[in-house]
Amino acid sequence: MTDRGTARVHTATVVGTHAVPVAVEVDVGPGLPSFIVVGLGDTAVLESRDRVRAAVRASGFAFPSARVVVNLAPAPLRKHGTGFDLPIAAAILAATRQVPPAAVEGHLVGELSLDGRVRAIPGVLAHALAARDASHTLVLAQESVRNALVVAGLDVCGMHDLSQLRDGVDRSSTVSGGPHRTALPEPGLEPDLSDIAGHAIAKRALEIAAAGAHNILFVGPPGSGKTMLASRLGPLLPPLSDTERLEVAVVHDVAGLDPMPALEGRRPYRAPHHSCSLSGLVGGGTPLRPGEISLAHTGVLFLDELPEFGPAALQALRQPLEDGYISLVRAEGRTRFPARFSLVASANPCPCGFHGDPTRLCECAAAQIRRYRTRIGGPLMDRIDMRLRVDRVDPELLVRSSNAEDSHAVRQRVLEARERARLDGRGASSALRGTDLLDACRLEPDTRDRLAAQARALHLSGRSVTRLLRVARTIADLEGADAVSTEVLYEAIGYRGSET
């Protein structure tokens, strides 16, 4: 051991969903014994000094009694989390020649226990991607190796405790990563549509929504089954591609959630309560964490009792619904989180919830009802293509055995519809606009006349007609029709909701 020396170890800090490379530079030199960490670390990073000192001693190494300066470069970038423990300790050990230089090569990340054990940290996948991009071997806690291995083209080395560095960490334990597609099971289709009795039109609406990526609003009294229906949309959606699986897994991992379901191809289903804070919903905080909308990326976001979410939250949903991501701005810059989700929302028909219920009388004044209906707001409603009424099913029906279709059969039709759209050179119908939408519908002249008459008769606004055509285009895809026919328009009208 020497009490002079320098070393550098590579690691990263997570910003948003990316791990930005950070170099841990250590200088051990003359002066009164001190241990300083510079480079805008947060409280957890500053606390690493105590953990590192204890872990180094517990692993049988000596902590230098000299001036130890650690710089986390680039210095102006804010650093977060406990993952710097391992790289800092490794750099100090290398600087004081207690371990060979080769022992600290690669991308090191991990928290240290006071007894020297290496612990897992969130954001493993982000680190894995950063290591892969820099062609470094990823060195981290043994328990995180499995998740890191899904990244293709990456070498991973697991560590149990700090003392393993003495012998240069047995690099023969390094494993190569790659998505073990065949090893990971296809996700099951639960919860299944066949669990639900009745609700024929709501199930048909889910099929259409899945085929065309439409957002849905269910309006109905409490206990009518809106939540049950919402949770059954996800399994109807096409399987996730490898890129999407990784994308979703990274977001979940960064948020401290288990990335395995996403890696297995299961689309997320998030159902935050309406008392959720704004930053909990869209993301925020310091350090920036993904919100529910990002955790729902590629999956389903269910907002039960949408009018109760508060104007700020409702407004905040507009950008992600439009663009598929959310930009969060902080003093240090702008970070983007992915947020392309299918929205399923539910609402009561009136403040007391029972307007139109055959068994209970609604006690709301008509003016109250009108006010309640406008709470969601035009711009957000405009992004919800399908709206329908959901009522409680007669209990008698629940008892009768149902030969309801299962999700597998419905999903087949959804996949075929999406394939037809793809072959026609289109993406999901919900994204079609303007002339693209009209062209895609290929309306015959008398269908076009019929549409105009419908718009007059039912007082449809231009926006309603746009939404109507999108839904109609999806229904036509489900039928395998090139053109949208009058019959299809008739079905699509049923999903327009009340004009407010």
Binding site: A366, D391, L458, E491
Partner: protein, 305 residues
Amino acid sequence: MDQRHEIPIDDERYPQALRQIPDAPKVLYCLGDPAHLDPGLAVIGSRKATPYGLGATRLFAGWAASQRVTIISGAAIGCDQEAHRSALAVNGSTVAVMGCGADVDYPSGASDLLDRIRRVGAVVSEVPWGTRPQRWLFPRRNRLIAGLSSAVLVVEASLPSGTFNTADYALDYDRQVLAVPGSIFAPECRGSNRLLSQGATPISDVTELGLALGIGSIEQLVMTADPAAEDSEHPLLAALLSNPMRPDDAARELGLHIVEVSRLLGRYESAGVLGRYPDGRYGPCVTMRQAIQSLHDEQPTCESP
């Protein structure tokens, strides 16, 4: 153009019918022409009116107004406002009785309508100009609606309903109480159907209304559904006309596939034959024969609930 009239009870313009009721107002505040205050047909109903209720209101108030009967109502949203509008649409006479000052616009959405009524009909109140609406003034105003009329027609009422209050006054003042029957499965008609079982006169077409009011020349200016036309239509239509249902329930009852039902409903709704109620059920609305006729001609009407 403010035709303000303060009419004390002994004035010759004070409506005779109203003078007879116990506790008649000492002064009537009238904006418009007091000549309209002759005995008329009060048309009242639920604020949360369904397309059926609005259609029935339009039918009966419109027809009566075209027969020179003054239509009296309370300018509340729903059936009341529809009654006033239907009378105005045929250039008939209409009176709005307010639970606030006659110069105050209540409810707020009714300003335009009330202005029109003030110009071509009359808006009256027993409380002074400028009085803001108060809860307790409305039952009081209902007695005026009953008092000013020779008959009270309840178009659609659920249980409980404010129309019962008016109907009670009508009975006290010896006015006729008429009610439009509704589906026995419909909660929104429970009140009006209850009135029928308590002895109100059922009114299911204009002939009966004419007979009840003693109006001559019974011409069926507006027709009711023609059974022959209905038979050639899909059984779904007949089923929903007699018993409004939601698509799921209709599909199950008739053993049809939900997609087929959806498309038929869209067709009938576009044609104006069926209306979609706020609770999601589909049922009758407006002038059905006219709509069914145009359905055959495959030219949708522009009429809509």
